[in-house]
Structure formats: structure tokens, C-alpha cells
């Protein structure tokens, strides 16, 4: 390559190098799911990004930072430079707020609701009534969309926001005769080991399928889950960051495109469900 060619390449690369310095990632904790999402983010972003791990140090972000990608609620709760764009990833329950002149988007922990309910309908063709329980105030703003998308699948949705976890057993006891299944979104306030046991035991004892939104919920007794992997969330965050850099306008919530289906055949059998072949083939994880 001639000297001119090298010079042109260098000039072309300079903005990219500058842009890499414009982006930072802040992780609530350094390992586990947060690292998995960040790794996928960095790979799909195409550039190396400076990473801050709150469990060991506090980020020192200058006003020149253009994009901050936060992973987890703890990172989401920090204050960031006024004009930075913020992408909230893996932060259920956090109300997003644009710091000043920047934009803010949130990556959903579930795929589009249309996908969720179409999959549930595929798994349980006879479903007519679905109960949804949640605790996080943040989820309230999706309720209208949830009802509309479910109705498109012929599913009538009833929703109930719990004030405390102690309400769960009594609310479950009201389901027989009023719901054909119940669904739990990815709600850290509600998803505890004890509550999953309560939901599983109720579901199996009463033959009312319980649908979750994460792999772990299905392992712990849900008939199936329709969710998004942490890698897919990171990938969606990368796409959002690139689009924001181009100046695109994005919706407040971005739903990752690729759903992750997990099924539990034993749990399904206890609820009288037999998954069609298409569902079995599509599932990425099968329990037991």
C-alpha cells in the first residue's frame, strides 16, 4: 500500500478511535450475567469500550462522554454527564431519565409482547384467559400494550400489581376458574426462590400453567419461558448505541429481536400441556 493509502486509512480510522473514547460502559457488578451482556455489547459495537465495574471502582466520566451504557440497576442509579446518551441495560424497575441534553433508551428484558403472547398461544392453543402478576412500578406503563397484544392472540389478560410478596399465595388461590395460565415478567421483586416455589407448587397442583420470562424460571418449574438472553440484551444495547451515534431517534424501550425459548416438559405435563413439534424444535433449552 502506498503512503497516500496509509494516510487515508489513518484518517478514516481516526474518527473511530475518537469515537471509541466517547463511549463507556458501567457495570453494576463485574461478573456473571453483567459481564456476559457486556461482552456481547462490545463484540457487536465493533470497538473496545472502557468498562467500569462498580464493585471495585466508581466511574470517572467527563462531560465529553457521548454514550454511556449501564448494566444493572446499581449502575443505572448513578448520575451521568448532562449531555450524554444513556442506554439502560438489565435494569428492570429503573425509570429511565435523560440526564439533560442527551437521550435515554432502555433495553427490555423480554422480546416484543406480540412475540411473547404468540408463543404462549402456540404452546397452549386453548388459552383464553391469562393472569399477569408483577411488583415493579416500572412495568405499569406496559399494561395497555400488553392487553392489546394479548387480545390480538385471542387472549384476555387480567393484571395485578402486588404491593408485597405476602399477597402472592392468596392471589394464586383465586385463579382456578378465572384464568387458564399466569405469566410473570422479569421482576426481581417478585422472582425469589421462595416465590418460584410457591408458583410452581400452585401450578402443578392445580394444572394451571405458569409461564416465565427467564431460563431459570423454567428450570424452577414454569412450563415454559419466553425471554431474552443476556447476550442478546448486550447485542441490542450495541445496536442502540450505534444508532444513537448516527443521530437516529429511538423509542424509549427497545425490545431485542431474538427471543430465547425454554421449556420444561415435566412441568408442562403436570399442567396437561403437550407442546407441538414446532415449539420443541424452536426451544433453545429444555428441562429436565
Amino acid at each position: 500500500m502506498s503512503f497516500k493509502g496509509l494516510a487515508c486509512c489513518a484518517l478514516l480510522l481516526l474518527p473511530a478511535a475518537a469515537a471509541a473514547g466517547d463511549t463507556a460502559a458501567v457495570l453494576s457488578y463485574g461478573g456473571g450475567a453483567y459481564q456476559e451482556a457486556f461482552t456481547a455489547f462490545e463484540k457487536n459495537y465493533g470497538e473496545s469500550v472502557h468498562k467500569y465495574d462498580l464493585s471495585s471502582n466508581k466511574p470517572d466520566l467527563s462531560e465529553g462522554i457521548r454514550t454511556v451504557v449501564v448494566f444493572g440497576g446499581r449502575a443505572a442509579n448513578l448520575r451521568y454527564p448532562r449531555d450524554s446518551d444513556i442506554i439502560y441495560c438489565m435494569a428492570p424497575g429503573i425509570f429511565i431519565k435523560a440526564p439533560g441534553g442527551g437521550k435515554a433508551v432502555k433495553i427490555s428484558l423480554v422480546p416484543e409482547f406480540s412475540v411473547v403472547f404468540s408463543k404462549i398461544k402456540q404452546m397452549q392453543p386453548g388459552i383464553g384467559r391469562l393472569q399477569i402478576f408483577w411488583m415493579l412500578p416500572d412495568f405499569s406503563k406496559y399494561i395497555d400494550t400488553v392487553k392489546i397484544e394479548a387480545a390480538r392472540q385471542g387472549i384476555q389478560v387480567t393484571t395485578k400489581q402486588l404491593i408485597s410478596m405476602e399477597e402472592l399465595p392468596a392471589l394464586l388461590r383465586l385463579l382456578p376458574g378465572t384464568a387458564d395460565a399466569f405469566w410473570i415478567p422479569p421482576d426481581p421483586m417478585l422472582i425469589t426462590r421462595e416465590n418460584l416455589t410457591i408458583m410452581r407448587d400452585f401450578s402443578w397442583a392445580n394444572g394451571i400453567p405458569f409461564y416465565g420470562s427467564t431460563k431459570g424460571m423454567t428450570r424452577d418449574g414454569a412450563a415454559a419461558s419466553i425471554g431474552v438472553s443476556f447476550s442478546e440484551m448486550g447485542k441490542a444495547a450495541a445496536a442502540a448505541a450505534l444508532e444513537l451515534r448516527k443521530g437516529d431517534i429511538l423509542p424509549e424501550t427497545i425490545f431485542p429481536g431474538q427471543a430465547e425459548i425454554t421449556i420444561n416438559s415435566d412441568a408442562a405435563a403436570k399442567c396437561g400441556l403437550k407442546f407441538p413439534r414446532a415449539v420443541l424444535d424452536e426451544a433453545e433449552f429444555r428441562y429436565p
Binding site: G72, G73, N77, Q161, P169, L171, L174, I191, G216
Partner: protein, 655 residues
């Protein structure tokens, strides 16, 4: 081919391991996100309203103490836990028993309610609580209202409510055991052990907890006002033992507790025993059945039936005889109605029947003057509370009407305004409360021709808090407590003993504090100060020092922290500073007890050297404060020495 087979074998083995690791990462993610969301300030507590609310909005000055905090601090007993609450202090009563002070006010007989797994542990003869009897390692969480709670909880909740819940069956999820040993400077201080089992059997939750312990109040020297002196080693035994069994299914639950607590005392009431020691027992049995009846999405009923049988203060030895058996049956029905997200309503009724049987062996002075050996009382109560989450503020208004068959009626209202605005929160609370006369209060009053009536208390409280960033929370609070008609024990010049209503007492207090939490590291630092306000009870006052009340310091600083070290090791220092206190020193003279610093240090190691094992090694009272419990009234009892510096070792294992 062999290599290919080996690779396939490896992948087949690795896949479940990878799936398991992914599932563990997910569980960890939800756990961490939940902690982030709940964080210390937004833990939901239901103690002040019976409906869960965020801590910063709940209409009371509430403290929640978690199991993690209790265990990390290496608490030996409930006194170790409660002494770190800024508003609480402990004083000496009689016969080796300690009582609680709340905001500088003596709260021993029926002014502070202690609930253990739903059972009221205030015995009904004198309404006292024996704080040494509780297995602190069974505790899951403690919710404390640092102020009145009579509207919801009735006549023992005049100044504070301490609501303790032990580990439920689901959290136990199997068997666990704990054992502890403490060595004081002069003698063994304590040893205790416990075994718990709990599990969910396809919807039926069952748990059983057994506890046994022996300790002693002190191994230091006690000297009464006459100069008689003895070593408290082997003369101040404390022996708790309990069995706690519960079962629950489909909203119906039942619980049974057999609690057999004994102590040995030589200090008695005023002059100590020249030889020997007395053995005092507090055997108790509790039974409860309750049903959580969900009528609809918005309406829930809770019928409950409680039975308590006790022989508090039983003593049958050559020094004193006292044998009175009490029974209390309580039936209640509470309705919870939440017609909307903004409105919550609570209403209920309660009926209780008290019976006391005086055994012939009881000393004559403790018998009924009329010669009766059985007495019965009844109490009816109606209560209600409304919570409105309005845009300007959350408003809680409630009232309780209580009618005692002997002592008449009490009507106590409460009004609270709480507001959370961004990082700030504010609370303003007006509470009226009462203390119902206990069985012995009534006897000793009526046998001497007095008519005794309930105490009436009004408390005004305010708190402001500010969440300074992600890690810090600051607060400041103030309270004015006025107790009218306090029921106080009195001995006249002829030696007659009785209870009667006095004029008025109370305190004015302020405080501020800081909470810091960063992952596993935390620090709580608090300062509180009280001064007597309108005190006209001479037995509580300090002559010449109008701002003091006997027995309690005017200034208190508490520090409680946890510092994660390498691996699973944490260091947990705590310290309490108290300013000077006043107590009597014989001959009717007053004595100043200088300021003290009581510092503890505990090392905790979790999941090492084996998983599910927790080890604690600590030193209590590192600087040898020589702390003594002072009697907060002029009752003729010398200050009782507390424990000496102690090395404490505890191990817990989950099977």
C-alpha cells in the same frame, strides 16, 4: 476417532455444567437487582400499618434489623441487638431482671410491646418482658416502631413495638443448627445451642425450632446499698429454653411455643440475700391459630385466636414464694380493604379474657386482700385505620377504642403525614397511646383503696431524611413524649406496697444519623439526646438536675458497621457511647455514673472451610467499660453490674 469421542464426552459433560452456571448467573442477577431496588431505605415494612409500605413512607419512625445484620454483629442475645437502637437503653428492675428504656422513659411494665412470631411476650401480671430469653439466632427480621403503636397493637404498645419474626419454613428449607460459647474475664459467660427444621411439603409449610441456653448476667461483684457484696459468678444464672412449632397450609396457620425461662438472683428487690440465691421462673405456653381469608382482590379478612398460659415470676424457695398462674384468650377479626392503589383501609375488633389463679403457697403480701384466689378480667377493643396515598402526601389516620372491665375505656387516635419527594422524605406524626393496667397493678391498687386507670401518652414525632447519592442516607428526628397518669410502684412509710397513677412525666428528644451502604460494606452512625420534659414524678427525677431522668444517659452515640475483607471474611465493629447517668447510691444519695464506651468487634467467616458453615469470633466490651444497669426509679436497688469483657465464639451450619 478416540480424540473425537473424548471431545464429544467433554462437551456432553460440560453442557449441563454450563447450563447450571448460566442459571446460577441468572439467579445472582435477580438477587443483586432486588437488593439494588430494595436497598436499605426502601425495604417494605408492615409493622406501623399492618399493610406493607416503603420504610421511608411508613407512618412511624421504624427501624428494620435484618438477619444479616444480627449475625454479622455476632449478637449473643436480643439485648445485644436492641442496645444498638438509638432510642433504646436498658435499666435494672428487680431480681436480676432488666427492663427497656425508650427515649429516656422507663418502659418496663407494659409500655413496650414485644411480639415474637405473633405472640405477645409481655407477661400479664406486671406486663414485663424478659429480654434474656430469646434465641437471637432464630431471628429472620426485627421491625421496631420507635414510638407508640397502641392504635393497632393495643395497651402494651404505649412507647414502642418490637416485632420479631423467626425464620419461616420456606427460608429454612431443611435443617440448621447453631452453637455458641462465651468466656468472660472471671468465668464462663454463656453457652447455648439450637436446632431448627423447616420445609414446604407440597404446600404445607412446617417448622420446628428448639433452643437451649445457659448464661449469667455477670461475673463481677455486686454491692447493695447496705454494703453486702457478693460475686455474681454462679449467682446470676440465666437459663432460656424453648420449642417453637408452626404449620401452615392454604392460608390457615397454627403455632405453638413452649418457653421455659429461669433465672437465679441474689440481688432481690433492695437488700441482697446474705446467703443462697432465689430461683425465679417464667414458664409460658403460647398457641395461635389464624386464617388468611381472601374474599376478593381487594378485601382480606384475618380471624385469629390466641391462647397464652404463664407463671411469670414464679418462685418457691426459702427466700420468697410467689405462684400465680395466668391465662389469656384473645380472639380477633381484622379486615384489610384496598379499594384502589391510593386507599387502604383496616378495621378490626378484639376480645380478650384474662384469668389469674393464686396458689396457696404465694406469700401473703402477694395474695388478694379480699382472700380471692381467682380473678377474671375482660377487654374489648375496636380499631380502624385509613391510609390515603395522595399527591401532596400520604396520610394515615386511625383510632382505637379499648374497654377494660375493671379500668374503664381508652380512646386513642393517630394521625401521620409522610411524604417522599425525590431524594427527600418527611414524616410528621401525632400519636395518642395508652398503657393498660396489668393484673398486679390492679390488685395492688385496689387492695389499698386506689382506683387505677390507664396511662395516657401523647407523642409528637418528626423526621426528615435525605438520600445523598447512591451510598448515603442522612436523617434527623425529633420527638416529644408526654405520659399522663403513669402507673408507678410505690412503698409508703408504713411499708405498704401499691401501684397508683402519678401526675405526669415525659421527654423531649432529638437525633440525627447517617447510613452508608456500598455492596456488603455498611455503616450506621446515630446520635440521640433526651431531656426530661414536664416530669412531675419524683421517683424518676434527679434532684437538682431537672433535665435528667434516673438511670438513662442524656446523650447516646451508636456506631455499627460491617467491612468485607478478603474472601468470605468480614469485620464487624460496633460501639456505643453514653454520657453520664444518675442513680441512687444508698442513704438516699445520688451518684454520678461517668460516661462509657462499650465497643464490640466480631469477625465472621461464611462458607469456609466448608459451604453453609458460618463462624463468628468476637470480643465484647473490648475496653472493659465496667458498665452497670441502673434502676431508673428510686426503688432501693443498687446498680447491677453487666457482663465483663467476653470472648465469644459461635458456629452455625445449614444442612
Amino acid at each position: 476417532m478416540f480424540r473425537l469421542a473424548l471431545c464429544l464426552l467433554f462437551l456432553a459433560a460440560a453442557r449441563p455444567a454450563l447450563a447450571q452456571r448460566a442459571a446460577d448467573d441468572e439467579a445472582e442477577f435477580f438477587s443483586l437487582e432486588r437488593a439494588s431496588l430494595e436497598e436499605t431505605l426502601n425495604i417494605r415494612t408492615s409493622v406501623a400499618t399492618r399493610n406493607p409500605m416503603k420504610l421511608r413512607e411508613t407512618p412511624g419512625l421504624v427501624t428494620v434489623i435484618t438477619r444479616e445484620e444480627i449475625q454479622a454483629g455476632g449478637a449473643r442475645d436480643l439485648i445485644d441487638v436492641l442496645k444498638l437502637v438509638p432510642e433504646f437503653d436498658f435499666g435494672m428492675d428487680v431480681q436480676g431482671n432488666l427492663g427497656l428504656g425508650v427515649r429516656g422513659n422507663w418502659a418496663n411494665e407494659g409500655k413496650a410491646l414485644l411480639i415474637w412470631d405473633g405472640q405477645v411476650y409481655n407477661e400479664t401480671l406486671y406486663a414485663t418482658v424478659q429480654f434474656d430469653r430469646f434465641p437471637v439466632d432464630q431471628i429472620d427480621e426485627i421491625e421496631i416502631i420507635r414510638g407508640p403503636g397502641s392504635v393497632i397493637y393495643g395497651g402494651f404498645a404505649e412507647l414502642a413495638v418490637i416485632n420479631v419474626r423467626t425464620l419461616p419454613a420456606k427460608k429454612l428449607g431443611g435443617a440448621s443448627a447453631f452453637a455458641a460459647y462465651g468466656q468472660g474475664e472471671g468465668a464462663r459467660a454463656r453457652n447455648y445451642a439450637g436446632l431448627s427444621y423447616g420445609k414446604d411439603f407440597d404446600g404445607t409449610e412446617a417448622a420446628a425450632k428448639v433452643f437451649w441456653g445457659e448464661a449469667q448476667r455477670s461475673d463481677r461483684r455486686y454491692t447493695d446499698f447496705s454494703g453486702l457484696s457478693y460475686n455474681m459468678n454462679r449467682t446470676s444464672d440465666l437459663r432460656p429454653a424453648s420449642v417453637n412449632v408452626s404449620v401452615a397450609k392454604s392460608g390457615l396457620s397454627a403455632r405453638f411455643i413452649q418457653d421455659d425461662y429461669k433465672l437465679r438472683d441474689r440481688d432481690q428487690f433492695t437488700t441482697a440475700l446474705a446467703t443462697g440465691s432465689g430461683k425465679v421462673g417464667f414458664p409460658s405456653f403460647f398457641a395461635e391459630t389464624r386464617y388468611d381469608w381472601r374474599l376478593s382482590d381487594t378485601l382480606r379478612l384475618e380471624p385469629k385466636l390466641n391462647y397464652a398460659r404463664s407463671m411469670a415470676w414464679v418462685e418457691k424457695d426459702e427466700h420468697f414464694t410467689y405462684d400465680k398462674k395466668t391465662e389469656r384468650i384473645t380472639g380477633s377479626l381484622t379486615a384489610f380493604h384496598a379499594p384502589s392503589d391510593e386507599v387502604q383501609l383496616l378495621a378490626g375488633g378484639e376480645y380478650s379474657h384474662d384469668a389469674v389463679k393464686v396458689e396457696p403457697v404465694t406469700a401473703a403480701a402477694s395474695q388478694y386482700g379480699s382472700g380471692r384466689d381467682r380473678v377474671y378480667y375482660e377487654n374489648y377493643a375496636l380499631f380502624g385505620q385509613a391510609t390515603l396515598h395522595a399527591r401532596p402526601a400520604t396520610i394515615v389516620a386511625g383510632a382505637r377504642y379499648d374497654k377494660h372491665s375493671k379500668c374503664g375505656a381508652s380512646l386513642v387516635p393517630r394521625l401521620a403525614l409522610t411524604k417522599q419527594a425525590g431524594d427527600f422524605n418527611f414524616k410528621a406524626i401525632y400519636s395518642s397511646a395508652f398503657k393498660a393496667p396489668s393484673i398486679e397493678n390492679i390488685r395492688l391498687a385496689s387492695d389499698n383503696g386506689f382506683r387505677i386507670k390507664p396511662e395516657r401518652t401523647t407523642v409528637m414525632e418528626a423526621e426528615a431524611g435525605y438520600k445523598a447519592g447512591d451510598l448515603f442516607y442522612l436523617y434527623a428526628s425529633a420527638s416529644l413524649t408526654t405520659i399522663n397518669d403513669p402507673i408507678i410502684f410505690y412503698t409508703d412509710t408504713s411499708g405498704n406496697e401499691y401501684y397508683r397513677n402519678y401526675d405526669r412525666t415525659g421527654t423531649l428528644g432529638y437525633g440525627f444519623g447517617l447510613k452508608y451502604k456500598n455492596g456488603a460494606a455498611r455503616l450506621n452512625a446515630d446520635y440521640t439526646t433526651y431531656s426530661a420534659a414536664g416530669n412531675r414524678v419524683d421517683v424518676y427525677g434527679v434532684p437538682g438536675r431537672g433535665s435528667y431522668l434516673l438511670g438513662f444517659p442524656r446523650h447516646k452515640v451508636t456506631l455499627n458497621s460491617s467491612i468485607p475483607l478478603a474472601g468470605a471474611l468480614s469485620a464487624n465493629p460496633s460501639a456505643i457511647y453514653i454520657s453520664r447517668r444518675y442513680g441512687y447510691a444508698g442513704n438516699g444519695s445520688l451518684r454520678v455514673f461517668g460516661e462509657r464506651i462499650m465497643a464490640d468487634f466480631n469477625l465472621q467467616l461464611r462458607d469456609r472451610p466448608i459451604k453453609r458453615l458460618t463462624l463468628n469470633l468476637g470480643v465484647k466490651d473490648i475496653f472493659k467499660s465496667n458498665y452497670s444497669y441502673i434502676q431508673p426509679y428510686n426503688g432501693g436497688h443498687a446498680p447491677l453490674p453487666g457482663p465483663s469483657r467476653e470472648i465469644f465464639l459461635k458456629a452455625g451450619y445449614e444442612f
